[in-house]
């Protein structure tokens, strides 16, 4: 915290105060000459009556009845989320359908919410040393910061744009390896955007 100014530090006054120079002027948008209209007595009375204003107000409200509505009527209408929206995770598979994950624990280490639990074992395939036997991810604990996918050297864990996933218990929301791989099958065609 040493780089922050101490509380006693005060912002020095601008130069023009110290140098007693004239205060700088800024360009203001050009407006037309300001007309000050002095209302006649009848107009004053008319304004005080408020009735025309009230009718105008109510009419403005009524015109909104047939104007465009902004509500997205989920689930009939699904809102298009931005390409780098971060939601439920997926575990990527390689071309042979095996999980890309090599159980290096980097995502688990990077996770600030401690929501990833990996159990590694010796891989049954010759091209890698380890693979995850279990890969549990607590979707309720996760804060969707995206650190895991940044940490992953194999691009194995990624966040998808699926935001409508629910469960009836807390245990249900702890996704295991199979479920995370299923999500990959669901979103296989979705091209992962370059995020950072």
């Amino acid at each position: 915290m040493s780089h922050l100014p101490s509380p006693q530090f005060k912002v020095p006054p601008p130069d023009y105060v110290r140098s007693k120079l004239p205060r700088p002027t800024y360009d203001t948008p050009k407006r037309g000459p300001q007309k000050s209209v002095r209302l006649g007595r009848v107009d004053q009375w008319w304004q005080k009556l408020m009735l025309p204003g009230l009718i105008k107000t109510v009419w403005t409200g009524i015109t909104h009845i047939w104007q465009k509505k902004f509500t997205v009527q989920w689930p009939e209408e699904v809102r298009e989320v931005s390409p780098n929206y971060r939601f439920v995770h997926r575990l990527n598979k390689d071309e042979k359908g095996r999980p890309k994950c090599v159980a290096c624990f980097l995502c688990q280490t990077a996770c600030p919410a401690n929501c990833i639990r990996i159990e590694g074992a010796k891989a049954p395939w010759p091209d890698r040393e380890k693979y995850p036997v279990r890969f549990d991810l607590n979707e309720l604990r996760c804060i969707y910061c995206g650190m895991c996918e940044e940490a992953c050297p194999e691009d194995a864990i990624e966040l998808t744009r699926i935001y409508s996933f629910v469960g009836t218990t807390r245990d249900e929301m702890i996704y295991n390896k199979e479920q995370l791989l299923e999500i990959f099958d669901l979103t296989r065609d979705e091209k992962h955007p370059q995020r950072w």
Partner: protein, 352 residues
């Protein structure tokens, strides 16, 4: 005699049902229209276009816990919701929704009040009397709740309604002078039997524009709706007089509000907009069978139109401050109402 009573009971049941139905419909349309006016779609999930929403709300509220807070005045606390609901519905009893019809040689009035052939001579006076009863429900609720915010709302409501009732009555006097009768059937028939200047229907909105204006303002104040909803200003007083109420008691306050809106809309439509008739709409034109149906539909149409204005005003106009309400009432509206009486007296030969 028994038949007369039976007919009266049937009329009461029909009108009571319609008012409750309309309260629900208004609840829905209020939420729908306010949504549309705020560029969103209001409730549209329950039933077609969300029309079952009031039903769902009511079921939800029935199953909520009915809490009676400690230290409330039990008796007043329990009767307050009824005290607001009853006058709102009772005031509707004088509103006619059709010309008297003949069934088996028996003349049947198309309104609740009045037994057999005898119409209620009080007419509008009855409405003014009943409308002032509505204060009691709010004050009882506010006082019994043992809550300072409720009490503040109740005090405001009392001051507001007392001062606005004054010119609510004064604004109709012009109409009564023109018609020469307190009965609403006479008022409606007189509005539709001739044309003004050959093209305008002789509705009281054209003959009594000032009276119409004052009556509308008073009606907004009477129903405690938006420009004048000081008693329940959510931002300052939590909920005003119904803060401490829950479950069905709260529903009753709610229904009372919408019933009052419907009743006052019906009265505005009847007194100022020609009621159930159109100029030229007579039994000769459409036949005796269709006339009551067309008249009832006309009445409904005009009432709902006024209801729409009520809702539109509520969701656009901002609330008055307390002193502004009082100033508007005593310094602006009351003189206008009296001026209207004087003008009507002076110009009566012209409009007769």
């Amino acid at each position: 005699m028994m038949t007369d009573i039976l007919i009266a009971v049937i009329r009461v049941l029909i009108v009571f049902g319609i008012i409750n139905l309309m309260a629900g419909l208004l609840l829905w349309s209020e939420r729908r229209i306010s949504g549309l006016m705020q560029d969103r779609w209001g409730p549209n999930r329950v039933g077609p276009m969300g029309l079952m929403q009031p039903l769902a709300d009511t079921i939800k509220l029935i199953f909520k816990e009915d809490i009676t807070p400690r230290n409330v005045d039990k008796l007043l606390y329990y009767i307050a919701p009824a005290m607001t609901l009853v006058p709102a519905i009772l005031a509707f009893s004088i509103v006619p929704f059709g010309d008297p019809i003949e069934i088996d040689g028996r003349r049947v009035l198309m309104q609740v009040a009045g037994l057999g052939d005898s119409n209620l001579e009080l007419g509008i006076l009855f409405f003014i009397a009943v409308a002032s009863l509505e204060i009691y429900g709010i004050i009882f609720g506010a006082w019994a709740s043992n809550n300072k915010y409720s009490l503040l709302g109740g005090i405001r409501s009392a001051a507001q309604m007392l001062s606005y009732e004054l010119f609510l009555g004064a604004s109709i006097i012009g109409v009564i002078m023109l018609t020469g009768s307190l009965r609403l059937v006479d008022i409606v028939q007189q509005q539709n039997d001739h044309l003004l200047f050959g093209f305008l229907p002789a509705w009281n909105i054209f003959r009594q524009p000032l009276g119409f204006l004052v009556f509308c303002v008073a009606a907004f104040a009477e129903t405690n709706r938006m420009p004048f909803d000081l008693p329940e200003s959510e931002q300052e007083l939590v909920g005003g007089y119904h803060t401490e109420y829950s479950s069905m008691k709260f529903v009753m306050f709610f229904i009372a509000e919408y019933a009052a809106v419907f009743t006052l809309s019906a009265l505005i439509a009847t007194i100022f907009l020609g009621g159930y008739g159109w100029p030229g709409l007579t039994s000769d034109l459409v036949g005796p069978t269709w006339l009551p149906i067309i008249q009832a539909l006309t009445f409904m149409f005009k009432t709902l139109l006024v209801c729409f204005v009520f809702i539109a005003v509520r969701w656009t106009v901002s609330r008055f401050r307390y002193d502004q309400v009082m100033r508007l009432g005593w310094k602006v509206m009351l003189p206008i109402a009296f001026l209207n009486i004087l003008l009507t007296g002076a110009l009566m030969p012209l409009f007769r």
